[in-house]
Symmetry: C2
């Protein structure tokens, strides 16, 4: 595995690969890799001749009061895991390399970002779209891989790729979970032992709503109320949002139909966790 921090060098190698007719898969990450990230690499290795993983904690997607400084980092472990998983190039640029002095163009995403996490994290998806657009242009992959855990991120990025006419297939890969069904996240290490024990309630609540739906319940408010009860039982949990939405437009639904997404974000102390479930 090559470790590259220069945009120019990476761009050159990928351009050579393209000229040789090789298919490139891109797995963009912020590092602190877990099995969720590695499942994306596994898919990318299967589908492509070459796999590039970016490891970059992107400052522009963090709000001023968010955890950019504290975000967990362990480049040594990441490089080992990436190499073992079959990554061909780990791209680890500095902030200065990605956002040099004078940098001033951003992607301005649209209505899809007015729901769910976009509401709680203004500017977040502007930063996500901008950094992913840059990565897509540098690597020119045929395929790019994202986790369903960040479901809105996937929908927003897919729309950007469509609107900007990028010839890239966007892959949304299933959420990988701990044995007790907590969705894997780099932020899980922030949790206290007690919070960690309570966190699987997020998935339990989603599953119970899914069961109610399977049994015929179609009223979104009823399902949301039940989720609220289950999570609210734990005193240290503060609900940011619970939403039942159209899986394409992310607009809130009052009557739940097939293809809806149930998404939630919940604070455990200072740690914000998200999870979601696609119905039917």
């Amino acid at each position: 595995m090559q470790i590259i921090s220069s945009i120019e060098k990476l761009s050159q190698i990928c351009s050579d690969w393209r000229r040789q007719g090789l298919a490139i898969g891109l797995v963009p990450t912020m590092g602190y890799l877990h099995r969720g990230h590695l499942s994306l690499v596994e898919a990318a290795v299967k589908d492509n001749d070459k796999v590039v993983m970016s490891i970059f904690v992107n400052p522009t997607q963090f709000g001023p009061n968010e955890d950019y400084q504290q975000y967990p980092r362990d480049l040594g472990a990441d490089l080992k895991a990436a190499s073992n998983a079959g990554v061909d190039i780990a791209f680890c640029p500095t902030e200065e390399e990605m956002y040099p002095q004078g940098f001033q163009n951003y992607v301005e995403p649209g209505p899809l970002t007015s729901f769910l996490c976009g509401k709680s994290r203004p500017g977040h998806f502007r930063g996500v779209c901008t950094v992913v657009l840059k990565l897509l242009n540098i690597v020119t992959p045929q395929n790019a891989y994202f986790g369903q855990k960040d479901y809105q991120q996937f929908v927003v990025l897919k729309q950007m790729v469509k609107d900007f006419n990028l010839p890239i297939v966007m892959h949304c890969m299933p959420i990988i979970r701990e044995n007790d069904n907590l969705a894997l996240s780099s932020r899980n290490i922030y949790l206290t032992a007690e919070q960690r024990q309570a966190a699987p309630k997020l998935f339990a609540a989603l599953i119970e709503a899914e069961q109610m739906y399977a049994n015929g319940e179609r009223n979104a408010a009823v399902l949301e109320q039940r989720i609220k009860e289950i999570i609210g039982n734990y005193p240290d949990a503060r609900i940011d949002y619970i939403a039942i939405a159209d899986k394409n437009t992310l607009e809130p639904l009052t009557n739940v139909e097939q293809g809806a997404v149930i998404a939630l974000a919940v604070w455990f102390g200072k740690t914000r966790l998200i999870d979601n479930f696609l119905l039917g």
Copy 2:
């Protein structure tokens, strides 16, 4: 010459060309072609194996009170001129093809758009950047060609290409002028006979300022004042702006240095004309 209106088809052809190792040049236009546009094609034909010209009056770069509906169009004449000039593909999409229902991502350009035309035309460069980004992604050219008449446009687009890491060389081609030195523009046909006769004063004023600079004048206010006098002589002319600015940052200068740009925009009745001159 092929005439194509489908993004998918154009993207496919250009992708095949790239695979064959052919260099592609892109000349983005809004049609109503004049010798200025054709000089871009000439350069593109020289530098590349294949030349794509887009002909698309881009609605997103016009303000609500601007001349989108009235903008002159003559597709038949344009296709003839493009073909004669050596264009391989004329790309003439519909508005629906470029901005289908649900379209929602835009480029958000930065401080470079806060000066000159950006000040008078809020949202203009957001539309320009968005449509050019789309065209660059569809065509994947090695080279793209723009006229110096829209100098700020070139600087803004070049910064976008740099910020978004597009591997494209941006070419700024000299202004082409009528015999009396009026800069060619599709909008010149709006002018009444009297306005048309007065319009060369824009260039005359720029040249006089250049002469004063050559003779040692370094005070931007003095140069601007002289330009104002020359243009103001004509009662139907209303100055939008006269600016002497750093040619890279577009920031206004008080002391004029080598590499400054003198740029102006002037209304003749309902027609807004622009022109500029690079010093030294």
